[in-house]
Symmetry: C2
Subunit: 201 residues, 2 copies
């Protein structure tokens, strides 16, 4: 008798890390990369301008609006969204290839995009990165200092509505400390490999 069907140890799993803009998804992902160098990270395509220090092909693939819309037409995205005037999308090819090679993949994406992935990948695991409180989220956004007041207020409003979507996710990780949040995500990934799917109730 083999135990492989139960242990799922030979499948690549898709993990989706998502949450309100400004919650610290990027920072937590960087900490996770140190903890789990074997995890594959998808690089998103965006039409937004690079922030200071962001590198093409590492943080994002930066494309023009026209290039992005061409990619949509060609069906090259797993998910894409127009988020406050900018496009963000996850290229299909890399993710599919890695999963086929039985590697775990982590997508760090916006809430709207996560919901699209949910309809495509039934077995994907959805992790919501949440701020300790809404007040804290506003504070973080202001600290980042890259946005003006109107945009900030828009983002905060969107974040509140996104928090209502938590119950669509499998896990919630509170980002009170970056290292602790990354360790929780690592634990979730380990646990998911032990989880028995299609169980009898």
């Amino acid at each position: 008798m083999t135990l492989e069907n139960f242990s799922n140890q030979n499948c690549g799993f898709l993990f989706v890390l998502s949450g309100p803009s400004g919650v610290g998804k990027g920072t937590v992902c960087r900490a996770l990369r140190v903890l789990m160098p074997e995890l594959k990270y998808s690089v998103s395509v965006t039409t937004r301008k690079p922030r200071f220090g962001e590198v093409e092909g590492k943080n994002y693939f930066f494309r023009t609006k026209e290039q992005f819309e061409e990619m949509i037409k060609e069906g090259k995205f797993i998910e894409w969204a127009n988020y406050l005037g900018n496009y963000y999308g996850t290229p299909k090819e890399f993710v599919k290839k890695m999963l086929e090679l039985r590697k775990d993949v982590l997508l760090e994406i916006e809430v709207k995009g996560a919901l699209q992935v949910k309809s495509l990948f039934k077995n994907a695991v959805f992790i919501f990165l949440a701020p300790p409180s809404i007040t804290d989220l506003g504070k973080r956004m202001r600290c980042r200092g890259t946005e003006n007041a109107v945009l900030l207020s828009k983002r905060l409003g969107l974040a509140v509505s996104e928090l209502q979507k938590i119950s669509l996710y499998d896990y919630i990780v509170i980002n009170d400390r970056v290292e602790k949040a990354a360790l929780s995500i690592q634990a979730i990934i380990t646990a998911e490999h032990c989880r028995i799917r299609d169980k009898i109730e």
Copy 2:
């Protein structure tokens, strides 16, 4: 808005570690105690004879058959089973008290008992500790050298039928290395505290 309903961080969870006799539940639990001293471990009551080195009140509460049957009558067990001629049971009081105090509790029990707990504690998390293979389980049992051939064969037969019950569990952990198995259980406990229960599909 509070995130507490989602994060479950303030509840004591009941974890049930179970699996075939001889798989190494005791050894893995000892490794887990080192990793997670904050976890509460229930001590079972048994009528079987103490093995070398086992301590009353630490490994088990050793009782006579008559004492055990009296406790059954008084409804003092969460679960109990007569396993190959000996009684094993989990006393109710300690577990209830710890969960009320919002402490996580781990029960290390036989498969038969685990299924009883399942009907009583809907939210308990069930972890199946499995041998890398049936051959390996037989080897371990023989190595323990505490049992005769007839008993060994009975245990092995029972183990095979218990492996069929894996799909009733939430997680499977393969005990190929004790330290790795303990780390997986620790990850499961961390992940369960992040898991969103009663989610919308």
